[in-house]
């Protein structure tokens, strides 16, 4: 009787250190692993944050090493039991972002991982807050029981928690936890207003009612220095760490920061961020991982002082495998499949059903990385067939074009929200897109205000792109005022003001609309781009990020960024061309939307967001417009508004496939 076995070598790429490592071979990268453990120990022992730099070829096991470190910390803490060593807080940061938004991106990743529940349902944020309370002597005994009790009480009494107030008081100005942040942390610990509190931590737009419910004061200057505000939040949250509960930050995909050609500035910004984190925290380990071929350029770009901090504790080299390590890895990988392990136990050859000769044949090409070895063995394993062993056949082979097309589509279907905002998508993706298109628009070298996400120039023309996604109200009005000042100080620059098409400016937001109108009257462009364009741009920049970091693989081959660039140039979707045409002036004069038309379109969108289905007669009456005007505008809003009837009688709120999938 034959046994059907899954191929133990399929699914080799580990892209997230939160994944459980498949098979740990202690001898592979053991020195590097031990050095990481020592570094964790170092930040536990003394109040001095430090840095470790890991580098290796693509597929050398950088992410696997981080996953192994995380799992090791968890196991160690579990073995120690309550009151013993605590599992370090683990934060994974993939740097597929713009260097102008580094701190905002870091805050987003920090919040996501802090709110990640552990095996007992307790989040990392719960753990770090309980730990702080215990270490300040504010909670005795079982912290979890105390928390359960407090949560129970909070259901009946909406007030604050005295112990937390005491904690924030004791942490004092050193921790720089703002009053608003204290309130938010209290809500999260007590499991109150969770959705709104998380949105606040991520600096998402919240209505005045939501802010009121949370009890936080609105910060109307919020976009003045958004990076600075994000930096403060990150440092405040990191200051909750302590000698018994350090924080490990793992920075991956550093290469993705430099998707456009201006590598040096991007990497310098990263170096400065690491130095700031190191100087402003006490028990934080900062692990940065990059590809070896990027190392020399990285060192030169970040500068000596910051580079020394990045690698202060150690520089760890992940080498290709030697034969002995390769053999152990292959054996462990096969032993991870119980049915196969049982069959193997009867065999004298430890590599059965593979032969040593065939496994080692990869060395005729050069020492392999773990990823190359696993892909090589996957093919060998599938070629093996006898009476007692049937291997589940491999997935059908695809061409690079088919693979890239599927990879882009997979990323495009993920909604642009939460961690990934429209502003970040544009700031990170716009320049690579322009390069792919062969556009003459380039990034200006001029220093720009924090409000401007990109300043592009072509010949004598210069366009500042600004995202205006703030919720309507004083925050947005203030932003419009700052834009007006910018325009006054530099009249030669054109302005393109962008707003997420899913958040139209409500007719109720009178002051915001008036201010915007003043800007439009000054010749500024107001753009609510097609959501499809934004989603495709988001997919494009993430695909390029994966390629530049060596994380895009077809079989064992790492797909090079240049290949992706060339493919994208051939496959550029109309949505992306439309997006660029909407943002940047073209030589041909396009149709201009009058402010009145713009206002009407927003009003229709706003109405449909609340009523979903509404007759044209009704809309015309509500907005005091003619039916023909309503119909004409509706036909211009094809991605947001559906039209029913011939002649049109009803409008309805259009929901895209992606929104349906994720709703």
């Amino acid at each position: 009787m034959s046994v059907v076995i899954r191929n133990p070598f399929r699914g080799s790429v580990m892209s997230d250190p939160w994944e459980a490592p498949q098979a740990n071979v202690s001898i592979v990268h053991q020195t590097a692993f031990e050095s990481c453990c020592k570094a964790v120990e170092a930040v536990r022992l003394r109040p001095h944050s430090t840095g470790v730099l890991i580098h290796g070829e693509a597929g050398s096991g950088k992410t696997h090493l981080l996953a192994r470190l995380r799992a090791h910390n968890a196991r160690e803490a579990e073995a120690d039991g309550p009151g013993g060593l605590q599992e370090a807080i683990f934060i994974s940061v993939r740097l597929h972002t713009s260097p102008r938004m580094l701190w905002r991106h870091l805050r987003s990743c920090l919040v996501n991982d802090l709110l990640r529940p552990g095996s007992n349902g307790e989040t990392q944020l719960d753990r770090i807050l309980l730990h702080s309370l215990s270490s300040h002597g504010l909670v005795d005994g079982n912290g979890q029981a105390w928390l359960a009790d407090k949560r129970q009480q909070a259901r009946h009494d909406p007030g604050s928690v005295r112990e937390l107030d005491d904690l924030f008081f004791q942490l004092g100005p050193r921790a720089s936890i703002s009053f608003n942040l204290q309130i938010i942390l209290t809500h999260l610990l007590l499991d109150r207003h969770r959705g709104s509190a998380i949105a606040w931590l991520r600096a998402e737009n919240l209505s005045d009612q939501a802010l009121q419910r949370l009890g936080v004061t609105a910060d109307y200057d919020e976009d003045d220095e958004p990076e600075e505000k994000a930096r403060q939040t990150v440092i405040a949250l990191s200051s909750l760490s302590g000698p018994t509960l350090p924080i490990i930050y793992c920075f991956d995909q550093i290469e993705a920061l430099a998707l456009d050609s201006n590598n040096e500035d991007s990497l310098r910004a990263f170096g400065r961020m690491i130095s700031t984190l190191q100087a402003s925290t006490n028990h934080t380990l900062l692990i940065s991982s990059i590809q070896s071929s990027f190392l020399t350029g990285f060192e030169a770009a970040v500068g000596t002082a910051d580079y020394d901090r990045i690698r202060e504790q150690s520089v760890l080299t992940l080498n290709p495998l030697i034969r002995n390590e390769a053999e152990q890895l292959v054996i462990e990988r096969m032993n991870a499949v119980p049915e196969l392990r049982e069959l193997k136990s009867a065999q004298a050859n430890p590599l059965w059903p593979l032969s040593r000769e065939k496994v080692e044949s990869i060395y005729s090409l050069s020492s392999p990385t773990p990823r190359q070895l696993i892909a090589h063995c996957a093919n060998l394993f599938e070629a093996y067939l006898n009476d007692s062993l049937v291997v589940i056949p491999p997935p059908p082979k695809v061409t690079i074009e088919e693979f890239l097309s599927a990879a882009l589509e997979e990323r495009r279907l993920e909604p642009v929200d939460g961690e990934r905002k429209v502003e970040e998508v544009l700031a990170h993706g716009l320049l690579p897109l322009l390069q792919i298109m062969g556009s003459e628009w380039k990034q200006s070298q001029q220093q720009v205000s924090g409000d401007i996400l990109a300043l592009l120039e072509k010949g004598q023309r210069r366009v500042a792109i600004i995202c205006c996604d703030n919720r309507p109200g004083p925050g947005l009005v203030n932003k419009f005022k700052r834009i007006e000042q910018l325009e006054r100080s530099d009249a030669s620059t054109e302005f393109a003001l962008v707003r997420d098409p899913r958040q139209p400016l409500s007719p109720m937001a009178r002051r915001s609309r008036e201010r915007r109108q003043q800007l439009i009257d000054k010749g500024m462009k107001w753009i609510e781009p097609n959501y499809e364009g934004i989603a495709t741009l988001d997919a494009l920049r993430r695909l390029l990020s994966d390629a530049s970091s060596g994380d895009l693989n077809l079989q064992s081959e790492t797909i090079q960024p240049q290949t992706v660039n060339q493919w994208l140039a051939k496959q550029l979707s109309p949505e992306l061309r439309d997006l660029i045409e909407a943002l940047l002036p073209t030589d041909s004069s396009g149709t201009t939307v009058s402010s009145d038309q713009q206002s009407l379109r927003e009003s229709i969108t706003e109405l449909l967001q609340h009523h979903y289905l509404i007759s044209i007669i009704d809309i015309a009456a509500r907005l005091d417009r003619s039916e023909s005007e309503i119909i004409e505008s509706a036909y211009r809003l094809t991605e947001r508004v559906g039209v029913l009837g011939d002649p049109p009688a009803v409008l309805f709120h259009l929901v895209s496939d992606e929104q349906l999938i994720h709703s």
Binding site: Q291, S292, S293, V315, L316, T317, I322, S367, Q560, Q562
Partner: protein, 293 residues
């Protein structure tokens, strides 16, 4: 195989803190009392490192001075930068304020000889004036001929001696004779062809590679990656051709004592950039070398 103890690595790091050669006694005093190396062990350990070509030494009567090859390389770069501005007399690079001023006389001489051997600098007779000159550009014979021809013209004209009477029928004859006369008169033999270098192999090659790695980065002994482009430049005197260097590195890698790291985005490199890397002819381009620790 070259393997360095923690103590040796500590001494190398400590020596690296000095930006000039340091007297043995001062170096010993600079070491922490509770450090991994006792004072009595310093000199024997340094002598061992000297044999492995990892430190340099100068002994003058009672004074012993140590420095790292990396410091020597730094001074060499400063000297080359100075010579790029124009040739200088050897005395001009030996003074207290010159780049090599901090080196003891023995070290200075040996460094100059090494740089000449590696053809990174050249010494030749002054075109105008007396004595020799150091330069980063090889001597141009034309410069000397020009001077001699002008000198000859100046002498022959007042005497009304015709070229034919001197056995010179054409201008080319005149150049050939002048060239020959000049070659015979030179105090230093100049060869337009570099002397053939015997390319090291086996253990000698491995020792040179390891010494070069630690010279470029003292952390190499702990497994830090060293750029193969920098290593190639450093060892050019020993492995003058690309094939020689690439061959030595690839042979060494076969023994699994060192690891080579590939460039993953080869298609982004120009041909010149590729040539600087080590290649095995199977489309692998290696950027760095690391000792397996």
């Amino acid at each position: 195989m070259l393997s360095l103890s923690e103590e040796a690595a500590f001494l190398l790091r400590a020596l690296g803190q000095f930006n000039a050669p340091v007297a043995a006694s001062r170096f010993e005093k600079s070491l922490p009392k509770l450090g991994p190396v006792k004072r009595s062990e310093v000199r024997p350990l340094l002598d061992r490192l000297l044999k492995q070509d990892l430190v340099r030494i100068d002994r003058q009567s009672n004074k012993v001075t140590y420095w790292l090859p990396a410091l020597e390389e730094k001074l060499a770069e400063q000297l080359i930068a100075l010579l790029q501005q124009g040739p200088l007399a050897p005395s001009g690079v030996e003074g207290k304020n010159s780049p090599l001023g901090s080196l003891p006389p023995g070290g200075r001489k040996s460094l100059l000889n090494r740089l000449k051997k590696e053809r990174r600098i050249f010494e030749f007779p002054a075109v105008k004036g007396t004595g020799n000159r150091l330069s980063v550009i090889p001597p141009e014979i034309q410069d000397y001929l020009q001077g001699m021809i002008e000198g000859l013209f100046a002498k022959l004209r007042p005497l009304s001696v015709a070229f034919e009477e001197a056995g010179v029928h054409t201008k080319e004859d005149f150049y050939l004779q002048a060239h020959q006369m000049w070659l015979n008169s030179l105090p230093v033999k100049i060869s337009t062809m570099p002397e053939p270098v015997e390319v090291p192999s086996g253990e000698v090659a491995e020792r040179l590679i390891l010494a070069g790695m630690t010279q470029l980065d003292s952390a190499a002994i702990n497994g830090a990656l060293v750029s193969l482009t920098k290593l190639r430049n450093l060892l050019r005197a020993h492995f003058p051709g690309k094939v020689d260097f690439d061959g030595a590195i690839l042979t060494f890698a076969e023994q699994e004592r060192i690891a080579l790291h590939r460039h993953v985005h080869v298609s982004t490199l120009s041909q010149a950039e590729k040539d600087d890397l080590v290649t095995d002819g199977r489309d692998n381009y290696f950027i760095g070398i690391a000792l397996r620790v």
